[in-house]
């Protein structure tokens, strides 16, 4: 069998259009994000169902630090802004700006993760472990799953940044950056809900 390597390379860079004229990777990724809605929906349901049913402390109002988490929320919102600015720069071919904003997005993600590590270790020292009470179990599973998603996002962003540094990312690969952005913004909107449901509505 003879392969047209140039055609395959172009397909790999640009994806294939579906019969609707939509990029197949983008369509698949939106479907994936849809499935993630159900994952986080089930985790948030579990948190809400067991809310206020812990028999022993620490309880949410004793331990949650609103000013600190508000800063984490601000950090993640700013990372979403950096992400759209990275995409806009890559789409117009300004790779200097593109690289800068990609790096800033990843660094803001790392700041968020650092905050979560600090928060978890602080809570642990305050006596809240994964099996301490229902609040601990549901809180760590929900926010930990979100943190795992942020970790994947940071690795993904750094990979893109390294590709950009090596000159392998340009306007022709803007869809790759757009899909990364979809993932990153989804992680942000999930946190918007967690911040309200877990931290502010106690």
């Amino acid at each position: 069998m003879r392969y047209d390597t140039q055609e395959h390379a172009v397909a790999a860079a640009h994806g294939h259009a579906t019969f609707m004229g939509l990029d197949n990777r983008k369509m698949a990724f939106w479907a994936f994000i849809g499935s993630e809605c159900l994952l986080f929906g089930s985790l948030i349901s579990t948190y809400l169902i067991y809310k206020g049913r812990s028999l022993t402390g620490p309880y949410p109002h004793e331990i949650l630090n609103i000013p600190f988490t508000s800063f984490s929320t601000f950090d993640l919102l700013m990372s979403s802004l950096a992400m759209v600015l990275a995409l806009a720069a890559v789409q117009r071919g300004d790779m200097k700006q593109g690289k800068l904003w990609l790096l800033i997005t990843a660094l803001l993600g790392l700041v968020f993760l650092g905050g979560q590590v600090w928060e978890f270790s602080h809570f642990y020292h305050e006596g809240l472990g994964l099996t301490t009470n229902l609040f601990g179990s549901t809180f760590y599973v929900l926010t930990g799953t979100h943190g795992a998603h942020v970790t994947v996002g940071v690795i993904w962003l750094l990979t893109l940044w390294i590709q950009a540094l090596r000159g392998k990312l340009g306007p022709a690969n803007a869809m790759t950056v757009e899909i990364t952005g979809l993932y990153w913004h989804f992680v942000d909107v999930v946190w918007i809900i967690i911040f309200t449901v877990v931290y502010l509505i106690q």
Partner: protein, 101 residues
């Protein structure tokens, strides 16, 4: 590609970011004001929904993209929402039936 339409401008992105930060400040402010405690939950849920919609519409470009993407995202999102509501209703409804409270 057919779905690739004009996205928002940098100015729009910055304005959306400013609105998101302001809403977050209002959320935190409302949390600390005792006078708002009676209406805290609905106010926070509405503000959170506005932030969610702004990010999805402008940063994820659903406002500008093909409507099929809105369907791919909105369908499971609605399903997830109904799962949350149904589970809460089943769980707390069951407790009310057993305890009469």
């Amino acid at each position: 590609m057919a779905e690739h339409q004009a996205h928002a401008t940098t100015g729009t992105y910055l304005r959306i970011a400013a609105i998101l930060v302001m809403i977050t400040l209002v959320e935190v402010g409302v949390f600390y004001v005792p006078a708002f405690q009676s209406a805290l939950v609905p106010v926070l849920l509405v503000l959170s929904a506005i932030k969610f919609a702004l990010v999805v519409m402008f940063y994820m470009h659903l406002k500008f993209d093909n409507k099929f993407f809105t369907l791919l995202f909105g369908g499971p999102l609605l399903l997830g929402f109904f799962v949350v509501i149904s589970l809460l209703f089943l769980f707390y409804g069951g407790i009310r039936l057993r305890t009469g409270m």
